[in-house]
């Protein structure tokens, strides 16, 4: 038995770990060790990837690429391949994953199971929109080849299916063309939610990537930093000779040792004393950078990947991430109400991200993205106090007709889950009865 924590480090329960290494042996491991759950690179925050006292099938050993078509950009690979490895291999060859979240240190299987999204949701949708085919192993011993035409229901259940429909063994992904590793970026400070929405709407047509950071402690005069970016073509990149040296520097940085948070501090470094000055400093620093710039995709998309174990800074009790999405109609009021509730509670968050989703439905039955606006906030765990704040936020999300992101959640009440995910009853039919997680036991029958 081995202690396993999720990224939020809220628990470290023992798990009976099996390491998957051979894609032809997955069903036999599952059959001999069930009920269990697939576990990738451990970047989900709450209990979606945990199965305390039960079996955990580690997938990072399934890391082989299987085929790539240089003309169509279709990649077939095993489910334990890290998005980072795909990016680093294919960006120099002119291809890139169309959708990646704020970290590239996750597996393909995890990206599918949580139907992750990125800064370009309004332009290209979520990860599942680019999954063409799947191989799914079930505890019954079956190995199913799925695609959107022959098995649309099981595909829709598996994409965003939290690993509960089987183990994704391999997947065919559609990569997108990219002319260079560089992005043309623009940083714009803003004040107040109306300005945020104006910027977001104005950027949707001409900018592929949009995101914003907000200072959730700034009170009634809300302020934030809006960032947007577009991929640069080869010609655009070549027109800037200085980028060649910058690329070499970036590659040295990527192949060198990443900075790491070396230990768990006795108390959270994110606390009432540090947060205010931190947020003020961050805002001022970013404000200085406002305007047009050029950024390499790694620091632009994955700013925290270069600080290993950053989750340790929240101290021994760990932290929660609260990510909600609410429909655009009434969304501004709901976001304002949440920010007010946070201010009033005295809790606070440094990593506060506000982003609009595009006007498109996700393919998965339990996919998180929906048309509207999403707010993500980190909170150090302070026990009951933190949970009381979340109850208040839950009420706002429920009232607004929104939902919480399962990949981040460790505590949402069942009624909010059921209200937020109306296609749950369709999903349940497709579950693999030999698979169970802490989250599925908390929110579903088993």
């Amino acid at each position: 038995m081995k202690a396993v924590s999720a990224w939020g480090r809220l628990s470290d329960d023992l798990h009976d770990v099996q390491v998957l290494t051979d894609r032809t042996q997955v069903t036999s491991v599952m059959a001999a060790h069930q009920p269990g759950l697939a576990f990738g690179n451990g970047r989900s925050y709450g209990d979606v990837g945990l199965n305390p006292q039960g079996h955990l099938w580690h997938t990072t050993g399934l890391n082989k690429l299987m085929s790539f078509d240089e003309t169509t950009g279709r990649l077939v690979c095993e489910a334990g391949v890290l998005l980072r490895d795909i990016q680093r291999l294919f960006v120099p060859r002119g291809w890139m994953l169309p959708v990646t979240p704020g970290t590239q240190l996750i597996t393909v299987g995890g990206a599918i199971a949580n139907d992750v999204h990125g800064k370009n949701h309004h332009a290209v949708g979520s990860f599942g929109d680019h999954v063409l085919r799947l191989t799914l192993a079930r505890t019954s011993g079956e190995v199913l080849q799925l695609d959107w035409t022959t098995a649309p229901e099981l595909m829709a259940a598996t994409v965003g299916g939290l690993g509960l429909t089987g183990v994704v063994v391999s997947a065919e992904l559609q990569l997108r063309r990219v002319g260079s590793p560089w992005l043309q970026t623009e940083t714009l400070p803003y004040q107040g939610l109306p300005e945020f929405f104006e910027l977001a709407d104005a950027s949707e047509r001409d900018w592929e990537h949009t995101v914003s950071w907000i200072d959730c402690l700034s009170g009634p005069r809300l302020r934030g930093i809006f960032m947007r970016g577009n991929h640069m073509s080869q010609a655009q990149a070549e027109a800037r000779p200085s980028l060649r040296a910058a690329l070499a520097a970036q590659q040295r940085k990527a192949s060198g040792k990443a900075l790491a948070m070396p230990f768990v501090p006795p108390v959270s470094l994110v606390n009432g004393l540090s947060l205010k000055p931190f947020n003020v400093a961050y805002y001022q620093l970013q404000k200085l950078k406002s305007g047009l710039d050029v950024a390499h995709y790694e620091p632009f998309f994955y700013p925290l990947d270069n600080l290993q174990h950053w989750n340790r800074m929240y101290g021994p009790r760990g932290f929660y991430q609260y990510q909600s999405v609410v429909p655009r109609e009434g969304g501004e009021a709901a976001v304002q109400a949440m920010l007010d509730a946070i201010s009033a509670s005295g809790e606070g968050s440094f990593l506060a991200v506000l982003k609009t989703f595009g006007n498109r439905e996700a393919k998965g039955l339990l996919s998180f993205p929906m048309p509207g606006v999403t707010l993500a906030l980190d909170f150090p765990s302070r026990g009951e106090r933190t949970l009381r704040l979340f109850s208040k936020l839950d009420a706002i999300v429920r009232e607004a007709g929104g939902r919480l992101y399962m990949a981040k959640d460790a505590r949402m009440p069942r009624d909010l889950f059921e209200a937020g995910y109306p296609r749950l009853s369709e999903f349940i039919k497709h579950r693999d009865t030999g698979i169970s997680s802490a989250m599925s036991r908390r929110l579903m029958e088993y």
Binding site: M1, K2, A3, D16, V17, Q18, V19, T21, D22, R23, T24, G61, K64, L65, M66, S67, F68, E70, L75, C77, L89
Partner: protein, 247 residues
């Protein structure tokens, strides 16, 4: 193109070394494995990573001297070899080896005798061509016998002593012998240790150390480097103290 031969190509350490090599520049790779399908899957992965590389697959019986000789002759006849990495092995169950001499024999053959025979078979053509590097994966377990895995350790000790003698023999040639001694590494071979929660080096880090050691022809490569210090201490502990330790 460099011609690199991997013996035990499905070993995760070898696989990660192969990935580093093909991603650095196109190479001619000959992968030798026991299981055709598994070795082909490794080859497919490498071909996706480097379409310009030429990746060939061969299978053989790793504990049959005649089969080893035949395989090596076929590889060398095909193209001169620049680097051979001998990487196969099985982390044998010490209790099973103590219980049953047949298990013990199998562990000694595959971890000790077999790598030595491969190295020996490659030496003759490499000496004739007066170039090339023979890299063998030994283990820190070969540095000093201890109760929890001395059969595996003895086999790896054989590899160590063999490599030492070869380095002596080949000192006036351009053929280099590199002995690699990894500490416990996170691979399927050690998945039981991992499941028990033991901390291990990442296979990516170990593969980088191996590739670097081979590139410069370093005679002995401990990876991660800290194991050189640890084993220096372990090897010099007086027996009266060592034998009291539960390691």
């Amino acid at each position: 193109m460099q011609h690199i031969v991997i013996i035990g190509a499905t070993s995760v350490m070898a696989e990660h070394c192969s990935r580093l090599w093909v991603q650095a520049s196109p190479v001619r790779l000959t992968l030798v494995g026991r299981d055709e399908a598994r070795t082909q899957r490794v080859a497919d992965d490498l071909r996706v990573r480097s379409p310009q590389s030429d990746v060939q697959v061969m299978t053989t019986d790793f504990v049959n001297a005649a089969a080893i000789a035949q395989t090596v002759n076929a590889i060398v006849a095909h193209a001169p070899v620049d680097v051979v990495l001998i990487a196969h092995g099985v982390l044998s169950d010490q209790a099973a080896c103590q219980d049953d001499v047949i298990a013990c024999d199998a562990a000694l053959q595959v971890n000790g005798v077999s790598p030595v025979l491969f190295a020996e078979a490659f030496t003759k053509p490499m000496v004739a061509a007066n170039r090339g590097t023979i890299a063998i994966i030994g283990s820190v377990a070969g540095d000093r016998g201890r109760k929890t895995n001395y059969v595996y350790g003895a086999a790896k000790g054989l590899v160590s002593r063999y490599a030492q003698g070869m380095q002596h023999r080949l000192v006036h040639t351009n053929v280099k012998v590199v002995l690699i001694k990894p500490g416990p590494t996170d691979t399927p071979m050690t998945s039981d240790l991992k499941a028990k929660g033991q901390k291990m080096a990442s296979v990516e880090q170990v593969a980088q150390d191996i590739a670097k050691g081979i590139a410069v022809g370093k005679p002995v490569v401990y990876t991660p480097g800290i194991w050189q210090v640890i084993m220096l201490v372990v090897m010099h502990l007086p027996r009266v103290i060592f034998n009291k330790l539960n390691i």
